[in-house]
């Protein structure tokens, strides 16, 4: 099994979800995170004091997938989340030894 982790721009989330749904991904776990990278944050001013906001909001998606699907899913995310502008994010794949569905105790492929 593989774990695909993607960090994307928030307003791309809906599109990515739909694309993955169409491909047949049955589940994922998402969270709101902050990104630091080439894409710079911005500046806020309060009573003349400037604050540099170093971080930009991102959405982090985790998907446990069959070894076979990993590549396609990475491709789908990359394609859908792409805007071509700095800050589009990263996708990475890491190995998983096993995954269990809590409700049933099913293992691996059966757990998804």
């Amino acid at each position: 099994m593989k774990l695909v982790t993607a960090v994307i721009k928030p307003h791309k989330w809906e599109d990515v979800r739909e694309a993955l749904e169409t491909f047949g991904v049955t589940g994922m776990t998402v969270s709101e995170v902050s990104g630091y990278g080439r894409q710079k944050g911005h500046t806020e001013v309060y009573r003349g004091a400037e604050y540099d906001i170093a971080l930009v909001p991102k959405i982090r998606i985790e998907i446990v997938v069959d070894d076979g699907d990993a590549e396609d899913i990475v491709g789908i995310i990359t394609k859908t989340a792409q805007t071509g502008r700095i800050g589009d994010g990263k996708v990475w794949v890491s190995p998983i030894e096993t995954v269990i569905r809590v409700r049933t105790g099913d293992k691996d492929a059966a757990a998804l």
């Binding site: 928030p10 307003h11 809906e14 998402v30 969270s31 944050g41 909001p57 959405i59």
Partner: protein, 446 residues
């Protein structure tokens, strides 16, 4: 009527309405959990909507249209000692427009009394059950008590009234019961109703085990401030003796403020000693405890005795809110600990402290105290019975309470289909949570 006074009554009526919405709605809403805050506020808003209408229909009539004994001693009959005819001024048809401002003022009292009860059943009472409970309860408990105390009924100084039966004078009680602005009618009444309803509804899932801490204390602080502000209308607007307008109102304003300041400090001291820290929830609670306690007494104390009453109320209420854990009843937002206990402190306390040698400690003997205690007991009894009737009727027909799964899911969504906040979390919430909200907005086909 004198316009300056009349203007104050317009202001006061508006102030007391503000106490319920948004004052009490915020005070309670901030203390509840973020999955229940909207329902909590809705219980206040809906009480305002319902009781406002009901009061104009038969509330005023039941409270003030006929008195047990009119000035010349001629009486409206024994039943008129409990409530007056709901139909004589039904819908205010036959009400003298010169009295409209008093209808307005009294209406707002009925509204907040009903709304106060909601704190006892936070997070778990069916909204539909609440909508039925409110109008029936004010009809059976609030209007009669308002009539008995202020409408020349059984709890006033009327002939053969409770006070007169205790210490009979000629044509009226020797010692008139004191309830300047509603210690019995409003606070004891709401406090008892809250206790009974909390027992009927039962404890929240996880009560005493799961954490149920306030989700937004800034709302509670706003609420406490607005309640204080509105309370000036509540107490100072309750002036009766117009000849003393300028002196009595000044005294009532001062007593209200001094008792509240003292109660806040009293509560904070108890917390400091018991818990090691004084809390902002304690300050907000102490403010309300002081306002509750001074309500019946504000016209019959002097500044120093107002401070004494306040500090006692603040300390006793600070201790009383712990009882629910010991006795294991879930009075969720402490309607009992603050309004029942505070109402008793004020109603009975004035029996000790009443100025002009009226109280036990001010050289007036025990009579006033005895009268105050008996009036309070009678009011508690009446309120308990009335609430029990309404509550049981609803419980065994439509049911009072959400099912467990719904309660865990959260009453805001279950009963109102809403969530209070969508703040997002990224970047200091610079954008609404893209996760917290849905994918499509489609009009509901009407």
């Amino acid at each position: 009527m004198e316009n300056g006074y009349y203007t104050w009554m317009l202001v006061s009526s508006s102030l007391v309405l503000l106490m319920t919405a948004p004052g009490l709605a915020l005070f309670y809403g901030g203390m509840s959990r973020s999955k229940s805050v909207l329902n909590m506020m809705m219980m206040s808003f809906s009480a305002l909507g319902i009781v406002g209408i009901v009061y104009a229909l038969w509330g005023w009539s039941m409270s003030y249209s006929t008195t047990a004994a009119t000035v010349d001693g001629e009486t409206g009959g024994e039943v008129a000692k409990l409530f007056s005819n709901p139909f004589t001024q039904f819908g205010l048809e036959s009400t003298d427009p010169a009295n409209y401002v008093f209808v307005a003022f009294q209406m707002t009292f009925a509204v907040i009394t009903a709304a106060l009860i909601s704190g006892a059943v936070a997070d778990r009472m069916k909204f539909s059950a609440w909508l039925v409970f409110v109008p029936v309860w004010v009809t059976l408990s609030y209007f009669p008590l308002a009539h008995m105390v202020w409408g020349g009924g059984f709890l006033s100084d009327v002939q053969n009234g409770l006070a007169d039966l205790l210490f009979s004078g000629d044509g009226a009680a020797e010692v008139a019961p004191i309830d300047y602005a509603g210690g019995t009618v409003v606070h004891i009444n709401a406090g008892v109703a809250g206790l009974v309803l909390a027992l009927l509804v039962g404890r929240r899932i996880g009560f005493g085990k799961e954490p149920m801490k306030p989700h937004n204390l800034t709302l509670t602080m706003i609420g406490a401030g607005l309640l204080w502000f509105g309370w000036f209308g509540f107490n100072v607007g309750s002036i009766v003796n117009l000849d003393d307008y300028t002196t009595e109102t000044g005294l009532v304003w001062l007593n209200t403020t001094l008792a509240t300041c003292a109660a806040m400090l009293g509560w904070l001291v108890v917390e400091k000693i018991r818990d090691g820290k004084s809390t902002s929830l304690g300050a907000a609670s102490g403010v309300v405890a002081g306002l509750v306690a001074i309500t019946p007494a504000c016209g019959n104390l002097v500044p120093w005795s107002a401070m004494v009453l306040g500090v006692v109320a603040g300390m006793l209420c600070a201790l009383a809110v712990g009882l629910k854990y010991r006795w294991n009843y879930d009075d969720s937002l402490d309607v009992v600990g603050v309004h029942l206990v505070g109402g008793l402190v004020g109603t009975i306390g004035v029996g000790f402290l009443a100025s002009n040698e009226g109280g036990l400690l001010t050289g007036g003997g025990a009579k006033q105290l005895v009268v105050q205690v008996c009036v309070a007991l009678f009011a508690m009894l009446w309120s308990a019975v009335a609430t029990l009737l309404v509550g049981l009727a609803i419980k065994y027909t439509m049911g009072l309470r959400l099912d467990d799964e719904a309660e865990v899911e959260g009453i805001d969504f279950i009963e109102h289909g809403e969530s209070a906040y969508d703040l997002g979390t990224s970047g200091g919430a610079r954008r609404a949570s893209v996760l917290g909200s849905g994918s499509t907005a489609t009009e509901v086909s009407a």
